[in-house]
C-alpha cells in the first residue's frame, strides 16, 4: 500500500483507525490476546473505507481526483505497459512536457499512448505547467495520432488536466485552433481510439485528446465543462461556492455514465486509486485489453460511423415541445455501459 502523506479531511477517520491498528499490532507481538482486536478493527477499517468512499459528494470527488499521490500518466506508463518509447516534439514549435506521447506495448498490442502529465515534484510540475498543455502539446498529440493511424496502431489517451493553459503564448500560438483541430481530426482518425479520464478532465483541454471509440473514466475522476471554482466565480460570483458548483455541474463518473457522456466507469481500489497504484493499473490494463480486442476487429468504416454517431447523439433538447428519441436521456444511456457490442457478438 502506498505511503500516504496527504490526508483529505474526509479521510481522517480512516487514517486514525489505521494508526490505532498499527499501534495494536506492535502491542500484539507481546500480547497475543490483542490479535483478535486487530482483526476486528481491520474489518471495521474496510467497512469505513467502503462507507466513506461510496458517499463522496462531488466536491470530495474533485479532491480525490486532485490527490497528489494519485497515479498519473507516467505511473501508468510504468505499470500498465510493458515498454514505453517516448516520441518528443510537434515539429513546429517545441516539446510540451504537459503531454507525453510515444509507442508502448500492452501484451501483444503495439499502441500509441498520449497522456497529460501533471508532474509529481514541484520542479516537474513547473516544467509541465501542472498538466496544462500549450498548443504545441496538442499539435504533438495530433501528429503522433496521425502517425499511429498510418502504421495501423490503436491510440490510447490518458486524460488528466485542469484545463488547457491560459496564457499569452498559448493564445499567440492558437490554443483555440489546436483544440478544435484535434477534435476534428480525432473524429475521423482511421484507427481505434480509447480515452480514459484518469483524474481531472478539465474542459476543452481534456476534450482536445478526448474524442474516441471508447471514453471511460476512473471511478473518482471528474470531467467537467469548467472547473468548479471557475463556475462558482462566474455564476455565484465567488469561489467559495465551489462545492455547490461541483454538485450542479454533474461532473462525477456516475452522473456522466447516466448522461451517456462516458461509456464505462473503471472501479478504483477501496479508498481511491492513490491507495493502491498497482491494483488501479491492473484494472486499467484489463479495460484496455478488452477494449482493444473489441475495437480492432471492427472494420474501420464501421468504427468511424459508430464514433460519429456516439458524439452525434449527445445533447438533450426539445423538438416541437417534446424530447426526440435520439436525444440522449437517462434511460437510454444506462444500457450503453458494460455492454457487449452487437458487432462483436456477430463476429
Amino acid at each position: 500500500m502506498a505511503e500516504n502523506t496527504h490526508c483529505l479531511s474526509f479521510e481522517r477517520p480512516i487514517y486514525e483507525l489505521e494508526a490505532r491498528i498499527q499501534k495494536l499490532e506492535i502491542l500484539s507481538a507481546q500480547k497475543p490476546e490483542a490479535r483478535n482486536e486487530v482483526r476486528q478493527l481491520r474489518r471495521e477499517l474496510t467497512d469505513l473505507k467502503k462507507r466513506i468512499y461510496s458517499q463522496l459528494n462531488p466536491w470530495e470527488t474533485v479532491e480525490v481526483a486532485r490527490h497528489p499521490e494519485r497515479p498519473m500518466t507516467t505511473d501508468y506508463l510504468e505499470l500498465v505497459f510493458d515498454e514505453f518509447v517516448e516520441l518528443h516534439g510537434d515539429k513546429t514549435f517545441g516539446d510540451d512536457r504537459a503531454i507525453r506521447t510515444g509507442w508502448a506495448k500492452l501484451d501483444t498490442y503495439k499502441v500509441m499512448v498520449i497522456g497529460h502529465q501533471k508532474g509529481r515534484t514541484l520542479k516537474e510540475r513547473n516544467s509541465c505547467f501542472f498538466g496544462c498543455a500549450h498548443p504545441e502539446g496538442y499539435r504533438k498529440a495530433m501528429a503522433k495520432m496521425k502517425m499511429a493511424a498510418k502504421f495501423h496502431m490503436p491510440v490510447i489517451c490518458l486524460i488528466d488536466t485542469p484545463g488547457a493553459y491560459p496564457g499569452i503564448g498559448a493564445e499567440e500560438r492558437g490554443q483555440a485552433q489546436v483544440i478544435a483541430s484535434s477534435m476534428f481530426e480525432m473524429s475521423r482518425l482511421p484507427t481505434p481510439i480509447i480515452c480514459v479520464v484518469i483524474s481531472e478532465g478539465g474542459s476543452g483541454g481534456a476534450l482536445g485528446i478526448g474524442v474516441g471509440d471508447r471514453v471511460a473514466m476512473l471511478e473518482h475522476a471528474y470531467y467537467s465543462v469548467i472547473s468548479p471554482e471557475g463556475c462558482a466565480g462566474i455564476l455565484w460570483k465567488s469561489h467559495t461556492y465551489k462545492e455547490q458548483a461541483a454538485k450542479a455541474l454533474k461532473m462525477t463518473s456516475k452522473d456522466l455514465l447516466r448522461l451517456a457522456v462516458v461509456d464505462d466507469v473503471i472501479r478504483e481500489p477501496l479508498g481511491g486509486a492513490h491507495r493502491d497504484h498497482h491494483l488501479m493499473a491492473n484494472r486499467l490494463k484489463i479495460f484496455f485489453r478488452n477494449s482493444l480486442r473489441e475495437l480492432i476487429e471492427q472494420p474501420i468504416d464501421q468504427l468511424l460511423e459508430a464514433r460519429y454517431q456516439k458524439f452525434r447523439n449527445m445533447g438533450v433538447f426539445l423538438e416541437g415541445g417534446v424530447q426526440p428519441l435520439e436525444s440522449a436521456n437517462g434511460e437510454a444511456s444506462v444500457q450503453s455501459s458494460h455492454r457487449i457490442p452487437a458487432d462483436a457478438a456477430l463476429s
Binding site: A164, P166, V225, A248, K250, L256, F311
Partner: protein, 283 residues
C-alpha cells in the same frame, strides 16, 4: 495596431455593450470613439460607427437581414428548444433563466440556422447570438449547427457560420455542452471530407468552447475588425500569469498577425467577400 482607443474592445466593454444592438434614441455614443453618432447613420452602415468603424453587436435576425438577398432566407429547425437536463440551479434555476432570456431576446436559444441566397449564391447558414446567455453553446446550439452542417453536406452547399459568443460551452448544461464541441467538429470533419467549403466569420466576442471548435475550423476564416477572439478569457489569463496583457491582445488584428485569420472583413464588405470566396472555390 489599429487600436487607437484604449478599451474599445476590453472585456469590460464587451460585457457592457448594448445587448440589443444599436441603442434606441436619435443619437447615441460610440463605445469606440465616444463620438455622438446619428443613429440612422450607424444603422445605414449595418451597425458600424461612421467615425471609427467600431462594429456594434447585431442580433442574429438582423445579421440574416444584412447578409441575405431579400426574402430568400428560410429557417431550419426553428422548433428546437432548450431544456434543463441537469436541473441546474445557481442563484436561480436554469429553467427560469431560459425563460427570461427567451423573453428578453425573442430567441429560443443562441443559434439560428437556415438556407438562402447571398448575392444569388445559395448557402447553408448558422449564426450564434451573443445576447442569449452570452451566445454560449448548449445542446440546442450544437444540434442546430450539426443539422445545418449535415444538410450542407447532403445538398452540396457552401456553409457559412457567423459566431458571436462570450460564453463558449454553456455551463448550465454541463458536459452535454462540452460534448457539442466534439459533435459539431465531427460534423465539420465529414463536411470537409466531402469537399465542402466552410467560411467561418468571427464577430465580437468569439471565446472559449466556440472559438475552440467550429469557429476555428473554417477553410476560410474572416473576422470583423477589433473583435475579441480567443480561448481563455482575458480575466482568467490575467489571474493566472499576473502580468498586464499586451495592448490589442486577443483582437482580430492580433489573430491576423499570428496567423489564425485569413482576412479581417468590414461588415459592409461581408456579403461581397463571401460571394467572392464561394466563386474562387467553385462552389
Amino acid at each position: 495596431m489599429t487600436h487607437n482607443l484604449p478599451d474599445a474592445n476590453s472585456w469590460k466593454n464587451v460585457m457592457n455593450r448594448p445587448k440589443r444592438g444599436v441603442p434606441e434614441g436619435l443619437w447615441m455614443r460610440c463605445p469606440g470613439c465616444e463620438a455622438t453618432i446619428f443613429r440612422k447613420e450607424a444603422e445605414k452602415r449595418l451597425g458600424v460607427c461612421p467615425e471609427c468603424d467600431y462594429h456594434w453587436y447585431v442580433s442574429a435576425r438582423k445579421r440574416i437581414q444584412q447578409l441575405f438577398d431579400e426574402g430568400t432566407f428560410e429557417e431550419w429547425d426553428a422548433d428546437l428548444e432548450p431544456t434543463d437536463p441537469l436541473e441546474f440551479v445557481d442563484k436561480a434555476p436554469y429553467s427560469q433563466k431560459l425563460k427570461d432570456e427567451q423573453k428578453r431576446t425573442g430567441l429560443k436559444d443562441a443559434a439560428l440556422s437556415g438556407t438562402g441566397m447571398i448575392r444569388a449564391r445559395r448557402v447553408a447558414f448558422s449564426v450564434t447570438d451573443s445576447a442569449f446567455i452570452m451566445g454560449s453553446m448548449g445542446s440546442v446550439v450544437g444540434e442546430k449547427l450539426t443539422r445545418c452542417i449535415e444538410r450542407a453536406t447532403q445538398q452540396h452547399l457552401p456553409l457559412i457560420i457567423v459566431s458571436g459568443s462570450g460564453g463558449g460551452a454553456r455551463m448550465h448544461e454541463g458536459m452535454l455542452s462540452l460534448m457539442q464541441m466534439a459533435k459539431v467538429s465531427a460534423a465539420l470533419a465529414r463536411f470537409d471530407t466531402a469537399g465542402g467549403l466552410f467560411i467561418s466569420v468571427l464577430t465580437n466576442p468569439t471565446m472559449g468552447g466556440v472559438a475552440a471548435s467550429f469557429a476555428s475550423l473554417g477553410d476560410v476564416i474572416f473576422a470583423e475588425p477589433k473583435a475579441l477572439i480567443g480561448f481563455a478569457g482575458p480575466r482568467t489569463i490575467k489571474a493566472t500569469i499576473r502580468i498586464e496583457l499586451p495592448k490589442g491582445f486577443q483582437t482580430s488584428e492580433f489573430l491576423l498577425e499570428h496567423g489564425f485569420v485569413d482576412r479581417i472583413v468590414h461588415r459592409c464588405d461581408l456579403q461581397s467577400e463571401i460571394a467572392c470566396t464561394i466563386d474562387y472555390c467553385g462552389k
